[in-house]
Symmetry: C2
Subunit: 272 residues, 2 copies
């Protein structure tokens, strides 16, 4: 029994509708900040943060507190709020901050609602690409407002032409000594791309590629992806979860068309 069946369908619809409203609000904010300019700083872990990241997360937190005062909030830039609540909004205000700073249009904004750890609503929005994927448990997945379903790959079509997105090699060695996994994956699946942002997830959800792998992610990086993929008839597998000191849990995930996902997961069993 899926615990999410406990949630009345009209509540899921309402959360989903609000998530889309929040996402549109965030898109306008990001586009206006790109127009007028913004501040950029390095965080203690050497990653970038901008005034846009902070403002987007502030706006989302205000909206969530206004509409769902009893829900929790977990985001990249500020402290968790209401962390024992059953419903948790999880966000990465800007995923691919470095790309946004350089105006590479693949960066995006991620928003998800989880219920007792299970994803109920997920949205990934790319303001400069005018691309958005969204899903709600039991209500399917949409890409730019249109319902979509992934068509599985025939296993004979996994012949080297299959389209795979990987994270950079660094993601396999930053917290783990799994560089060998990257090396075997790029050899086994020569038609690979590396986008370094949630654009990889959007491409897998919308079927623009056949599958994607992400590795060494925080919860907010992947919070929207499982419901987005599963509601599109795809498969989402967590291949690893590790507790990193001073950081918390990081995840390894494989998602996309089921037959290819199954094949990819074998790499993590044999080499991991």
């Amino acid at each position: 029994m899926d615990i999410r069946s406990d949630i009345p369908a009209q509540d899921i619809e309402r959360y989903h509708a609000k998530a889309l409203e929040f996402s549109s609000m965030v898109r306008s904010l990001i586009l206006s900040q790109l127009e007028v300019g913004f501040e950029v700083k390095r965080k203690s872990d050497n990653s970038l943060v901008t005034s846009v990241d902070l403002q987007v997360e502030e706006v989302l937190r205000q909206q969530i507190q206004l509409h769902f005062p009893d829900h929790g909030i977990l985001g990249e830039e500020y402290e968790p709020e209401n962390s024992r609540a059953a419903f948790q909004w999880i966000m990465d205000p800007i995923d691919g901050t470095e790309d946004m700073v350089r105006r590479v249009p693949t960066f995006g904004s991620i928003l998800a609602l989880h219920y007792r750890g299970e994803p109920v609503v997920g949205v990934i929005d790319h303001p400069l690409l005018d691309m958005r994927v969204n899903a709600a448990y039991g209500f399917g997945t949409s890409y730019n407002g249109k319902a979509i379903r992934l068509t599985d790959l025939d296993s004979a079509a996994i012949d080297g032409t299959e389209r795979l997105i990987l994270p950079a090699r660094d993601n396999f060695v930053k917290y783990r000594d799994d560089g060998n996994l990257f090396d075997s994956l790029v050899r086994a699946h020569p038609n690979h791309r590396i986008y370094r942002s949630c654009f990889a997830h959007t491409c897998a959800v919308a079927g623009l590629v056949d599958a994607a792998i992400d590795y060494g992610d925080a919860i907010w990086d992947i919070a929207a992806s499982r419901v987005l993929i599963e509601e599109a008839s795809g498969k989402f597998v967590e291949v690893g979860k590790w507790n990193v000191p001073n950081l918390g849990f990081v995840y390894g995930t494989v998602f996309g068309k089921p037959t290819l996902v199954d094949r990819l997961v074998e790499h993590f069993r044999s080499d991991g």
Copy 2:
């Protein structure tokens, strides 16, 4: 003495202006074909070709023959024309055809004019991204209509945060046994991306990344890139040129901010 100094400046301006006209025409054609739909086939080398690739190259050839009947034409989809002419228009009508078929917006259209083997005019246009870089010898480089100049990286800034675009590993093993080069590059430069199309070149020209490497390309893949990079104060180095049976010459190139390009070129000397 640069042989391109033989060409009157007003001629270069005229070629450049026409190249931009041709590029706008191509953009409209591509956008309308994406709207109405198009035919997709596999070529004998298993790569994709569509009716859009063919139509774009046909339109470009007609326009060039009309305006520059004594110039030569070299393109991916049809036979060379007037191959002994001093001026040669070189084109990849759609670079990243597979991405275009899947609606990944990074594909683009490449057009260049060479004079006795030296690039005079270069344009890369991305219809779905509304992005274009263009340059003419002696007239500088523009990105979306605005003149640009690359700011070199300080060598101390090459500390792992430098932004590099690579081709997929397959490009290093398709015609050469240089997989070790890919393996050493992804280790030495952890902040890497793989886009598999001329979007990599556009990002390097516009300074959205610090440098790019391409490997195993045909002449039309790189025909615009040298003048685009050099006119933006960047550096373009050919690190290899090999004659592949039944295909002709393929090239290895490194281009972008000079200090990083110099550092990258060392990999090809020590490992290549």
